[in-house]
Symmetry: D2
Subunit: 430 residues, 4 copies
């Protein structure tokens, strides 16, 4: 439709690469849904979670609206679906109420998969024809990162949904676990220093980062120490056995209220015997050496206080992570559960900063100095949630490996327990 | 398959008939679910409603538990399902929380249909082998009536579920409507009289009736008059247009609170233009001559007060219905929506007492003098709900035709709007 | 002060009598508030209860609005108070939200008492001058009965308020109790009969009755038996000890939910040792022979079922009460707590039908055939509450003795526990 | 009673001074309650607010428990009151539920005032006898600061209580206002700098500060600009008139939900005409030049975004305030309402950093690096609330003048509107 000049060979290669990456990311969502029936894909077990089908549709809507929608002639697959699959973009219209996403028997999973195919086909055609303008390309790039976020949520949401069913079926029966050993706790000390935090603002800078990671700015990080690895299940179990869930002195006031009201007695998916836990592979023995997970901020914070330590700030975490690679146990590893460290690291080096479990920090989620939201409708992406949430860092066993960065800031309400979230201890310099 | 003695010819005929009736009733539930996808069959749009799949499973559980369960060697299809598909029989164990029935992606619809097949096969074998003792046969009889109740709920629940979906799809596209004319309102007068109300207690008496219909007892019914037909859509629309939903003087105190809180402005499935209504066939023009339906008790009562009349007592209704046949527009007619009268009746005769719409009475649902609940676990069937509910009479367009009786007492909370419930006016003798 | 013609001697005597009665009733409310501080008089411990000060003001507002308000020249004491002290008369304007009556530090108790004095002075002047027209006189009559109802509520509400204070102070320290003996349970049988229920409609008939007691109508009451006295504390304690609060089989479904949710384990004001109870005189030993009270309908009904009996209908109760005087332990006796019978009655005679405790009946509160609400604004007095409530009969130890009648129908929600409500057993004829 | 050595003259002078300060602070609370009746002093208009009487009693309990309670022979005034007037110190026992403080008609205001007198008398005796050990003296010091916090809450709570009464009476009729002029908005720029934030930890350091202000630590504050004065009523009114309360784009997601749910249309105490506001002196015309107040964090943040600016961090605020005196319009000024600036300041100088209105910052309330809670039971004072709250700085017209410091950190939930809270704009360096 556009009388565009033939792309140069290198541009053609770039769009080929992008098309391939698009196809890969998009196919992975479908693959994640493959073990589920259409009925499974419809369950919404709490207002915070969404059905698998909704994740599949909403991520597709994102590309339809923000990529295909930039094409003047584009007619949506089904105009009525805009309302259904908009999540929270108020500037582009009202949206179906979040707690009622589980009522959507129509469109069917099959219809949604067809919607995906059609949108994907068209996007790839446009990519191959080099027909997308820079704004559309940026929105496509953002859409791929957005889809990866939903891939993780799809897993944590379906885990919760299956656990809510009294039959408590497994998501997959073929997941393997990996043994390992958690070394004794070791403190790694850092002196006071000024460091650069964050990532240069995209798209001005070519490497993608969310708006909430920018701009790069200088922060004075005080002298402190960080544990070399996350808190393990064995360690957390000692807290439980020591009465940690019955002693208000370890808890934030709001956390203690919640703990009592919801009758928390241990991490979300543990059994009362503290022996087994519900995983995406069903019920399994708790690995004492693996990082503890499915903690709320309140539980992580209470544990740290009980242990005579504290949570790290997000700056302390990023300082530790900055120099490292991002290798770790990610969704790509196919275990979909945190593992104990597979091999020892040299003394003085951190373990498991990336993957396994998101690490709660003591940093309330807020704007960096000079923060600007993305332009246009996508300004609603991150900024409007900078209130009442806490930063988590490092990614988890359910995060796609190429989705993480040292500067990546995840955020959840302090009451949230259904994510793969654990903690690493910190303390002030003596 | 059981080496039982050959039954006598007449007993054999009776059980053949029963087996045939069993097969018919059971097949009808499956047929009602046929237009729905597995996803549709899972939706629970409010705590008062249940998913289609749950209806299919729960009615089967009833036969498994109360018929097959009387056989010493019987092993349940799946022991874990007892908890899932028990509704409210506390004496036989805890049950899955009602508001969470919509989370049950497992068992699948397919598994539930297989459960039905297996149970049906075994029940029919036992019937054909004449192997069920009298208690099991009584519980089977009750199970058939129970299943018919759920057939109606299946329809009203799925109607609500589809309406809650912003796409508002039809349950079926092939439903026909039937034109007719509502004659001008006419009053039929009755003098004071003592009448016999209710049905003889089953199973002592062979004809089935629920425990709440018994015993037969004498009631003094004062002089009064009843309208010859239910209130029509056209009549109710005048109430709406006259501001009936904005004037507290017509309403019970609790009803007025609810009306304001829920922003009621017209019957549940009408549009704001008072021109169209949502039906099992999708959106349709409102037939002015058809009986109004989907009213709460509060709306029915307010209308009656506005019209200078009142709701009838259940005794007045039964007095009018006693001498009549039970012909009417039932689920078997295949319209699944109330219709205007097809032809005129002789003056002085009631119309549409049966079928079309349940008629709210002014009678609070309670025990008749001498009331005894069914024996054993099934004592929980009706008695424990005799509080805070109102009696409705006559069946509706969603009721199986052979499920109704003049003595039949349906009951719902006064706030319930999702049933096919309307009203017939009554007034005191001048 | 008005130059009215001198009334005839007999009319003068009638109005003198009325003025005296007015003064007596009105003074009694003030006397009931006398043991309370201004702070006590302001407490609202739950939405269903009102502060003492509000009772004092609302009953005065009633006379101001419906008696003085009929005088063309009358200016209200304070026009802003109309909104504050209207209870639920929607036809004469909006009212302060019920749950917020406890926030009214202004007007002060002193101001309210002054309001009472002023209104009383003016009403008595008008009465003495014979200046009230028949409608005003009728509304005055109604106002006196209304005030007596609030006198009982004042007592039950302040009892609850003081009990909610962790210090649990007594309302009065000078209340005496009276010993007695509850005779063994005896059944008094009645054959089927048609009786006249209700009272002739006032004001057409001179004797006062509420609209909900009229018209007199014939009811066929089936053969049955009633216990000769209410259920005693000792009897109810056996129900508690037998696990009555832990066994769903005795309870209405809604009652069982409430029982679990609110952790009911015994009557409202009993201690967990089942030995002492909170009374208007503070904590006291439970008298085993006195009638049990502070039961909800659900508890009364569950007890009756456990005891192999049932609650009486309001017609059975009225049939028993019709031939008797209304003597009993009323508020005038000054004990303000139920007592055991002081002396034996002849065999075959009922005891304590009047006074001591209101008796829950199995009758849902509804309209009698031919029911008409009072005319005008006062039509809201009773009729709009005929939904979801149960009838209680006979008055209690907190009811003014001259407020009760055999036809008197009190009504409360089945969950209400803070009234002096107990039960008398009934059973069907064998 | 203690065989203590005679104090040195200077120590005697110190305790004389402390006794005088104690007497002054304590008398001020009583004076604040003087315009109120016992009934006014009992109102609790929302769970977040407390009755005046409770403030008077709780602050006294604090001295009884933490000062007199250190004396071995001390018997509490009334042992039952410990439960009533403990606020949230879980380590020393359970406490009366906060939302039910308004039910406490007993003890009476008079009893509470007597409680105050007795405790005060004993404390002063001990001070004059130099009989308090260092721990008791520290707790007394803390108690005085604690009492001053409650003095401010007493005012904001009673303001809300009186406003909730439909009569909306004034707290005092004799409050004067002060005219002034708000100069045009001017930006004061600061370069990037490392500054020392906070106060040295008390009691190691003699000058009092709360634990949450310590330790002093270095913070890198980026280049930025601050407005020279708070946002005025006139400015905020333009935001309202421009539709600021109807446009989600200016709001945090949670704030927008709240704004819609609570139907916010303007600051809490403004009328819908945007012309008058409710003050402690009753309804008054809004002074366009005075700082806007009674904003939630969400409103302050939305305004800032609309204005193309942002809220300052608490570090930016403290950097501006550090060099200045703390003069301002405080409770001691007797106006009890924000005023416009009385006179111009030199260019480049901030106005009204102290007094008038608390200024919302963008800083979530959390621990400073190296934070330690107070020792012992008082460790619950501040630390356990470091979750979900925002820091406000500078004090208000309801704060005692000698209660404020540049390092002082007040904190409230972002939804709180009933404090005298406004904002000052900030922006990033260009």
């Amino acid at each position: 439709m556009n009388a565009v000049a033939a792309p140069s060979p290198s541009a053609a290669r770039a769009t080929d690469t992008l098309a391939a990456r698009y196809a890969t990311v998009r196919a992975r969502s479908v693959a994640l849904a493959a073990p589920l029936s259409a009925e499974d894909a419809m369950v919404q077990s709490m207002p915070d979670a969404s059905p698998t089908k909704w994740h599949l549709a909403h991520t597709t809507w994102f590309f339809e609206r923000f990529v295909l929608g930039t094409q003047p002639e584009y007619a949506p697959f089904n105009a009525d679906w805009h309302y259904l699959f908009n999540s929270y973009y108020q500037s582009i219209g009202p949206a179906h109420a979040r707690p009622q996403r589980g009522l959507l028997s129509r469109p069917s999973l099959e219809d949604v998969l067809q919607f995906r195919s059609r949108v994907d086909q068209r996007v790839i055609e446009l990519l191959q024809a080099n027909a997308l303008d820079p704004q559309a390309l940026r929105q496509l790039e953002l859409g791929l990162h957005h889809e990866q976020q939903h891939q993780e949520l799809l897993l944590t949401d379906i885990k919760h949904a299956l656990w809510c069913n009294p039959l408590q079926p497994a998501y997959r029966d073929d997941l393997v676990s990996r043994p390992g050993v958690a070394a004794p706790l070791e403190w790694i000390h850092s002196p006071e220093q000024i460091i650069e935090i964050g990532a240069p603002a995209w798209p001005a800078n070519a490497a993608f980062a969310y708006d909430n990671e920018s701009p790069v700015h200088r922060v004075l990080v005080p002298a402190h120490a960080l544990a070399q690895r996350p808190v393990s299940n064995a360690e957390f179990r000692r807290f439980v056995e020591a009465g940690g869930y019955r002693e208000p002195g370890f808890w934030m006031s709001e956390g203690w209220s919640l703990c009592q009201q919801e009758h928390w007695q241990h991490p979300l998916y543990w059994d009362d015997a503290l022996a087994r836990e519900f995983t995406l592979a069903g019920w399994r023995a708790i690995d004492p050496d693996a990082p503890v997970c499915h903690l709320s901020y309140f539980e992580a914070d209470a544990y740290a206080r009980w242990a005579g330590a504290r949570l790290p700030t997000e700056f302390e975490w990023e300082a530790a992570a900055a120099g490292q690679g991002t290798a770790g146990n990610f969704a790509d590893d196919g275990r979909l559960h945190p593992s104990a460290p597979a091999h020892e690291r040299p003394a003085g080096r951190h373990q498991q900063l990336f993957g396994d479990v998101w690490e709660w920090t003591s940093s309330a989620y807020g704007a960096y100095p000079g923060f600007r939201t993305f332009e246009g409708n996508l300004g609603e992406y991150n900024g409007k949630f900078m209130c009442g949430q806490w930063v988590l860092r490092g990614g988890s066993c359910a995060t796609p490996a190429d989705h993480i960065r040292p500067s990546y800031r995840n955020f959840f309400a302090p009451s949230a327990r259904w994510q793969f979230a654990g903690l690493r201890l910190a303390k002030d310099a003596a």
